[in-house]
Symmetry: C2
Subunit: 490 residues, 2 copies
């Protein structure tokens, strides 16, 4: 319970907020619902960006940049798209301030825009308007573009990283000659996201398809990855949309195909955001602070010297210098905390709070014995090990921690994913043992909506390669051919 | 004059626009003054970001992220700051759209913000408001933060990359315990920028200080680097500001110093933007297209096979594969253009247009002779060289091109920097032989302003370590102690 973080058993929501603030990840800004991402939090985002960007490029995508502002009329062109986003748009109406007669700064009414501009909540419309000029023939396809950007969705209830009015993300927007190619792209990017979240965030995901109710505004199909947080609520960690020809039709983007005929272009879009940082925090951390998977930890190893006299520190420093060199050669980041303003115990607590995966403590006796004390953040266990071969040992330990964190989250999800066959059991479990509930549903949006209203649980997804199975809808008793994955969600 | 680019002698401005468009660097968007940065242009920005980001981190800075929106009242807190930016602000006034009775999408007047939000033109105000919570004691200082972000300044006259309503940049914002430390930081970052622009963009710069008229709104001193474009106009390539205690006072950011006394914090800010891409294009390119310095070229080497039969291509391909591997090991990027839809001549023109520094052409006769044809983009010269040791040869050639491009720009600037002693000569040179004009000025804003109005030339900077020299102001004849650098500028 360092620095006054509440226990997650006591108040999960408060625990999360405390953790984000105390671990210096982010804070709220004076602008409603907008956050400030502090250097420690941002460095995790930078690591995520670097890995994802490489994955996108390896799958043939290039980055580009499109305007922040979207003319209002563009939104109206795709009916379900505007329906989905109109209620949460920041609208720019003027382009100048001025001093009024009292010397106050006011909006200059003479500088009103002819057409209002929307701060992008997502960029399909501005991008497909642009693609019209870029695509004439099948030779121009596929067009595989990604953008790293900020977007704004005016949220009424916000929570740091998970739901903020402005957030950072990447949005891929691709154009294809056939539906099959576009679907293959949609599925490929879902796999990229699943790979990233499982192998870097150490978080197991369920890959699936959204029901029509939960689809992206303007998509024919929304693929998603869903993860389970420690409080038993689900979190959508990434989405990949097959947009069909909806945006091509809205923006009149046609191409000459191989048969020399004109056809509308097929589209996908896909994105993950700074929300992933929230998922990372929620899924692994404990009452002592963050637990970061080594692959995304800004500092992987911290070394704390324990000494009384300066000559002791000199000895230790020489050793740490050599160790640091060895670790850096292995691409392992190390921080040597030799501040004389803080006691070792305070430092231990600080790095626990910040989730540093491995802590090395080294004192004068260790120097005499040729040992160090290694503590791992995930299990909070310590061991005394030899200085000989220490870098190799740490390298293996980091790999082990990465695997262990994943396995722990995997086990948690297994334990909290249950098949349910009655509505009573469904409601009871949601309240008493929340998690993923695999249940039959009659396939209608009405039933889905009623369940949502009555229980706050939504269909997170229809898992990919779902097992077909005869059954009866938990609400209506009507026949069903497969179970779908329900949960309450962030 | 590939793909119809006008000659730069004939119309420099049109030549630049043509080049940006035809080389697939960027285009205008339907949003007034906002640009779309296309993948080829964006990949240069990515390279710039990577280098600069490393330089910032090596000088102790961390990245963070602050909100896009700034409450209007924040601006008003620093008087000269709001004065400087009020006339070009995008203002968000509403947060929702709705359907009106005719089914049109309109702004929902019920969703009017209590206080308008400004889309950040720069982030001093929102950041210093935040720093108030981060800084209590000298132990919290220096605070060295950078942000990569988009900003908006509502420009009336726009030009791709050089002046757009939205642009991408980085903005450093640092806080220090003393004026001296803040000034040292300001100067350090100017040196970082000069190093980057000279050694990566291959563009020589003059380092200097702005006159009060040309200072950043809210700064005590603005340091800058100024470069000369091929049409003899200057371009400000980066600025670093010593902000004194202005923002600390406006946002009440005090700290306890080592003497246990409360004092206001000292500040700097510094930035470079996508404008640098414009500088890069303007300073090196020619009538055949871009000339990119190898260190920032997205593709450093292109290989074009020349063949009639498929088995010839097979032979060439095997050779190119081996060469590519060798070059990649040297961190040199290579593109093998084996498209059968384009003739070699068309490919040559395309890569000239795109400024690829080295072109390797290889045909069947070359394969028999163990040679290739190497063409360098900067001098447009060709040579036939042996295949043996080709990767080493190309590596040296790229270094040579980088140096040569710099030297050419350096010589151009030397030839076009002149000392002037009379106003008549000053005006004549501005029209007939534009460039940097080093002239005496009486030191008053009034004289500076009159010269600007009469000639459109501004004082670009007072060079650092400027030589002191008795003289007379070119306009007023009043005494002056040093020459300053005038030019017409972008």
């Amino acid at each position: 319970m360092s620095k006054g973080i509440i226990s997650k058993e006591e108040d999960y929501s408060q625990w999360y907020n405390d953790l984000v603030i105390k671990a210096d990840m982010a804070e709220y800004s004076p602008v409603r619902g907008c956050m400030i991402i502090k250097p420690y939090g941002y460095s995790i985002w930078e690591k995520m960006q670097a890995v994802l960007d490489k994955m996108f490029k390896e799958t043939g995508h290039s980055n580009a940049y499109f305007p922040l502002f979207i003319p209002k009329s563009f939104f109206a062109k795709e009916a379900s798209h505007v329906e989905g986003f109109a209620k949460e748009c920041a609208v720019v109406t003027h382009y100048r301030l001025k001093n009024d007669e009292n010397g106050n700064i006011v909006v200059d009414e003479d500088a009103k825009l002819e057409e209002e501009l929307i701060v992008r909540p997502t960029s399909e419309t501005i991008i497909w308007n642009t693609y019209k000029g870029w695509i004439q023939s099948y030779r121009d396809l596929p067009l595989l573009i990604n953008q790293w950007a900020n977007v704004v969705r005016w949220e009424m209830r916000t929570r740091l990283f998970l739901r903020t009015s402005e957030f950072l993300w990447q949005e891929g927007h691709t154009a294809h000659a056939t539906a099959d190619e576009a679907i293959a792209e949609t599925e490929q990017m879902l796999e990229v996201y699943a790979d990233f979240v499982e192998n870097w965030l150490a978080l197991p995901v369920i890959k699936g398809i959204k029901t029509p109710n939960e689809r992206f505004a303007g998509a024919l199909d929304t693929y998603c990855i869903e993860a389970l947080m420690q409080d038993g609520k689900a979190l959508q960690a990434g989405t990949s949309h097959f947009l069909g020809q909806n945006f091509a039709k809205a923006f009149d983007v046609k191409f000459t195909n191989r048969e020399n005929k004109l056809d509308y272009v097929w589209a996908t879009s896909w994105g993950v955001s700074t929300r992933l940082i929230g998922a990372l925090i929620m899924s692994h951390s404990d009452d002592a602070g963050l637990v970061l998977p080594p692959k995304l930890a800004p500092i992987q190893v911290v070394v704390v010297p324990i000494y009384k006299h300066d000559e002791e520190l000199e000895n230790i420093t020489a050793f740490v210098k050599a160790l640091t060199k060895e670790l850096k050669a292995k691409d392992i980041s190390v921080k040597f905390d030799n501040r004389d303003t803080h006691r070792p115990g305070a430092k231990f607590a600080e790095y626990e709070l910040k989730g540093v995966p491995v802590r090395v403590a080294i004192g004068s006796r260790d120097m005499q014995n040729g040992t160090v004390e290694l503590a791992r953040r995930d299990t909070k266990t310590k061991e005394t090990v030899g200085q000989q071969g220490l870098a190799d040992h740490i390298e293996k330990l980091l790999e082990d921690i990465q695997k262990n964190i994943y396995q722990k989250a995997f086990n948690f999800r297994q334990e909290n994913t249950k098949e349910v066959n009655t509505y009573e059991e469904f409601k009871r479990l949601l309240d008493e043992e929340p998690g993923f509930l695999s249940a039959h549903w009659d396939g209608t949006p009405e039933t889905e909506q009623r369940i949502k209203e009555e229980t706050k649980a939504t269909i997170r997804c229809i898992p990919l390669n779902n097992k077909l199975e005869e059954g009866k809808c938990i609400l209506t008793g009507k026949p069903s051919t497969q179970r779908v994955m329900f949960a309450r969600a962030y």
